[in-house]
Subunit: 402 residues, 4 copies
Amino acid sequence: MIGAHGNVGTCVVAGAAGIARGLFDHTGLVTGAPEFDRLGLAPMGDLVFGGHEVRDGSFVHSAKDFGDRNGLLTPEIRRAVAKELRQADTEIRIGTARGMGSGVESTASDEALAAAPLAERRERIQDDLLDFKRRGKLDDVVVVNLASTEPTPADQSALASLAAFNDAVERDDGERVPCSVLYAMAAMESGFPFVDFTPACATGTPLLAEAALRHGVPFMGRDGKTGETLVKTVLAPMFVARNFRVLSWEGFNMLGNNDGAVLREPGSLASKVRDKDEALRSILGDDGVHSTVRIDYVPSLADWKQAYDFIHFQGFLGARMQMHFNWQGCDSALAAPLVLDLVRMADLAHRRGEAGPMRHLACFFKAPVQVPEQDFPSQMNRLYRYVAGVHAEASSPRATGS
Amino acid sequence: MIGAHGNVGTCVVAGAAGIARGLFDHTGLVTGAPEFDRLGLAPMGDLVFGGHEVRDGSFVHSAKDFGDRNGLLTPEIRRAVAKELRQADTEIRIGTARGMGSGVESTASDEALAAAPLAERRERIQDDLLDFKRRGKLDDVVVVNLASTEPTPADQSALASLAAFNDAVERDDGERVPCSVLYAMAAMESGFPFVDFTPACATGTPLLAEAALRHGVPFMGRDGKTGETLVKTVLAPMFVARNFRVLSWEGFNMLGNNDGAVLREPGSLASKVRDKDEALRSILGDDGVHSTVRIDYVPSLADWKQAYDFIHFQGFLGARMQMHFNWQGCDSALAAPLVLDLVRMADLAHRRGEAGPMRHLACFFKAPVQVPEQDFPSQMNRLYRYVAGVHAEASSPRATGS
Amino acid sequence: MIGAHGNVGTCVVAGAAGIARGLFDHTGLVTGAPEFDRLGLAPMGDLVFGGHEVRDGSFVHSAKDFGDRNGLLTPEIRRAVAKELRQADTEIRIGTARGMGSGVESTASDEALAAAPLAERRERIQDDLLDFKRRGKLDDVVVVNLASTEPTPADQSALASLAAFNDAVERDDGERVPCSVLYAMAAMESGFPFVDFTPACATGTPLLAEAALRHGVPFMGRDGKTGETLVKTVLAPMFVARNFRVLSWEGFNMLGNNDGAVLREPGSLASKVRDKDEALRSILGDDGVHSTVRIDYVPSLADWKQAYDFIHFQGFLGARMQMHFNWQGCDSALAAPLVLDLVRMADLAHRRGEAGPMRHLACFFKAPVQVPEQDFPSQMNRLYRYVAGVHAEASSPRATGS
Amino acid sequence: MIGAHGNVGTCVVAGAAGIARGLFDHTGLVTGAPEFDRLGLAPMGDLVFGGHEVRDGSFVHSAKDFGDRNGLLTPEIRRAVAKELRQADTEIRIGTARGMGSGVESTASDEALAAAPLAERRERIQDDLLDFKRRGKLDDVVVVNLASTEPTPADQSALASLAAFNDAVERDDGERVPCSVLYAMAAMESGFPFVDFTPACATGTPLLAEAALRHGVPFMGRDGKTGETLVKTVLAPMFVARNFRVLSWEGFNMLGNNDGAVLREPGSLASKVRDKDEALRSILGDDGVHSTVRIDYVPSLADWKQAYDFIHFQGFLGARMQMHFNWQGCDSALAAPLVLDLVRMADLAHRRGEAGPMRHLACFFKAPVQVPEQDFPSQMNRLYRYVAGVHAEASSPRATGS
């Protein structure tokens, strides 16, 4: 996990341990539904966690902080999974924070900000990944980006091809190579699947698609679809199906966690808002719909996001009607199970020899790579068809084969 | 149209005329979407309207009343479609209101309450239908039930089979034969499709399925899915897909039209609430979810329904989260285009020689006949597959003939 | 406290202890505001708690149950105040539950339901009160009714005067003497102030006013104004001040605590809804406003009430406008500090020699005794004037004495 | 009226005419409540309207545009008051728009933007005012500023005193003399009361207070309190009275009228947001409450503002609770009656010989001049006390004179 000690990473480790210990059931895990039962997904207790982090701290500390502020991960739960948290803490290495924007950089340790050349940083990431696998005697490693939202580089030429990327790394051109790309490339070049759960710009570029095929690894992203955008992509198809004309769709998000604090930086905010708004526009068409996405930092909310959406639409006889919704969810408790789902599905895909974008996982993302449809029901159908395909192969003579 | 002069019937006639005259576009009509363009559906201007009504009145009067209270069908619009409203008024005959519950009976005219034997009433309905077709030189007639919500009869034995029904009619057993069934059977026996847009109990019974096949006519129902229930069946699958546990789903509806007034009668209310609640439970499973459906009569709202829904759900780490929505829609402006859609689709099905329940129209109903799935996206997929099938047939060599 | 082991009583004891121990500040206590600083109110740590309860249980158990279900009174807090909870448990005696309605009776112990004559029950209450005061060497005792909502007796003749009441007790006429009256009279006859925090019918009757004057004790009620009704009486005056015409005001309440469960009984519900609705109508006038109050039991909410209010109003040019609000509060955490406020203020009034209704405490109640105004700002002004009066007396030459 | 042809001005003229003709009652007018009955306020039919406007247009045109977009001022109403609209149009002169910000300037006519020196512009305003009074044989003129929100000048030295102002006008220093001040001074120097219904900066400065006393005229402002801020100043005192700690109060406003369009300019937005936020902070104290005010332009809403407010507060036991509200009001139908109220009250004050700020009108403003309290109930008490004072004088022997 890149950005391991954040709220999401902490909930991932504590949640997986809690499930393995029987403290929680599979509620909230897509892969916990019966349809995914006999797919051969990795059991929760078999997962081993580690990663990079740019701030000082630990899972033990993050869990306490998260618990005190959000009412989840109570002292009882924390005591019960303390061993797993401490174990995961031994697998955290210092990450790289240069170019992540002032929001991240202001909280990063000096070591994380150290100005090593890009080539050296890439190499160190690979070393850490391979070392993690070797020491843990792991079957596979899935790299998941959970870092804070990164500004999009103005010049994206280094993301156009492997050649351009390698050239930029060699020239040590930090302006054109965002951190997320460095991690993604290091993962793929090490032969590991990559999942981008953030709005990092790189995931949809030609570079990653080329690298994934070259190295024979699956990957997917971008930007986990956890709350308000999920609801948007569920509701918007209804307006289309009923042939309503959506006049305005205004969304107001409030949150008080580190994510929200980082989003006060305009560059990071722009990346985030883009993904939230594009999902909607892609479903509704661009036919004059007015839409706004606001994200405000409200410290008292901590991880409990509040979203208000106002939908103004026109129907028969010119009638102008309204729908309003309010979503109150704990952002990290929404995101963490999806990370576990994605890791298990990426591992399965890798074992099955799949390479390139895992389009069947589109339903997990705000801006899924190489998948045109944004509406959630169609994306779920993609996932169910994939699962049915795996089951079909598994039960066919070839698969059982001699 | 049974219950023709109600708000929905009035909006149907005024809306179709308004579209034919270019005052409104196809917004709000499902069959107005591009997918339905080359299906050969009846053009809006070719539709001729008539029906039964138990109260004194006229479309002209209903349109003024509706317009003054709801801000739609303004004086300008009413003037523009006055000719069509008056024309439709010449095609209205006195309906039968006995057994519709005190809400309807208290507003019905003496003639509508007249105690003619069931057999005679059935015959008169058939005469009116055939006369309507003959005088109008119509290609087909589609009978649509738009009457107020009817109490469910305690003894449903007359709805079990054609034989039982005919026996009950012969015995003139009004307790066991609701008005809606009398209309449905009269339609089918005359060879006309039947659509039940109300929560009338009969539509899902063996009787109608048997009659439809016997007389070779398509039919569908029950209870138009226009607003809050539509949203419920769009949102609930999301909670299932994400493996959330819905703890409570409480719905509070307010409306101030005649429908709302009739629903103050407990019998009618029970029929309505049943359909709204069953749709939800069928999607979520019956696993302990607490749900309430309230419908309150709030006169100042007139036809503008307000619905509040509160959804309490559990996710990962035991987190208890919430979603709230508020829906503000003009009920009749939501229902009327669906009536036009259903009439056009029933006419198409009849021309294509289909008989029995039109399962592809499940998406239009709260309690669709012989269709297990209640989730709206799956129901829409059914409709799109049907449309694709019609197109495929149309372009196949067989269809183009020799 | 009558009904001591309920959520409110439990939060009262735990909260007072928590404040005395410095775990919580005075937030939520009206008397914690600076205006009340030098009134000579009893310090939180000087309060001693005891009471009657009809169910088996203990504060220790109630605090655990409340904590587990509602996220407040966490294990840490419970450990810190365990001594005070256990101490208060030694002061609980078995109450009387006969005639409280099936909701309460179904959970009451056999002893609480025992059919002792009214006179005997009254005597036992007095014995318990005097014994509590004696053993604790207390300066004063304030009796607060926190029991579940009681059905209003059809025949209220026993509440018309002391003579009628005494006659009914002597005849042992349980139909006409609700439990709450028995407690109120026992308190007053023992010379103790009485506060009715429930919708019990007796508090506004001539009987209590007569008894209070006879025995020289202050009293007040009825029905604590904690959440939705508080907001109503804050907002409604705005609509009056701006000369808007409120067309409809519809309130939907959901809660999942024992109170909600008891309110499923129609008799109890009627008492509660009456107080909530009358407060509103008294402010708006009866000029055609349509209003509904719904209270639904939603178990998953536990003590966290959800209220939706819809306000439809007309302004200039006939414009019909809307306001909606949603209130999410922990009912017992809202009520408990008000109980502490009332106890402290009743003690002060008693010391000051006041007798009869404490009209200056109207702001705490949905149906304040002998106070015409229901709007909260005016009620607060009453309280501030009273406080200013006490201060003025305290600083006048007479008060400092010679 | 400065900015006469805007939506508010149009509703003022049409509404006053509609009331005089019996089409509307006094709903929405504060001075329409019974308390104001025998104050001797000017009857609605005696008011004569005129003013300045910087855009081309007319009341007739504005009323049609407003009616078509907002559903109020229907064609029937417009026909009924057409004569009064046309009459008022004859009293409109070209205003001055220089320095109003690009939002206003982009829609202003060339004449309105003409670069006449300040002294000349001031003189022309006075000429227009005196001419209006003379031709109409009017008893008095009240000048009301209804122009769009104006940016606050960086250098406010010209607003510090009459001498500084006169100096700046002589130097023709447009940077330091906003339009609103020019109008205010012209009004006062002509001996007429001035009311500022906009967030213009000048109204609270020493300049206006000095000028008002010098010229013996009453004045008041600033920024009409019509909707969301009104509700804020009604609700916030409740949180104070109950000693809750407000953690966050976030307000999201959407509107689609010209006001909303002008507010897209940062300078104008800042002026507006300041007043909305200060009202809240003044009531709650500055003790760590987080607050946001957003105003977004959503064209489909036209004049129907939508506001969402989220209030996060802490109570007893550390419980964190929430309140949400949604306000849906027609902005101009909310503002127009207040303008009429203010004109009638300013006329009364002038007749009574009052000069300086009319503090009793604080309840009409977001940032009332020289009134410390922002809470609406206290402000209403001020108004009621003033009215009682006028009545008392009227009925005292002194007032009836000898």
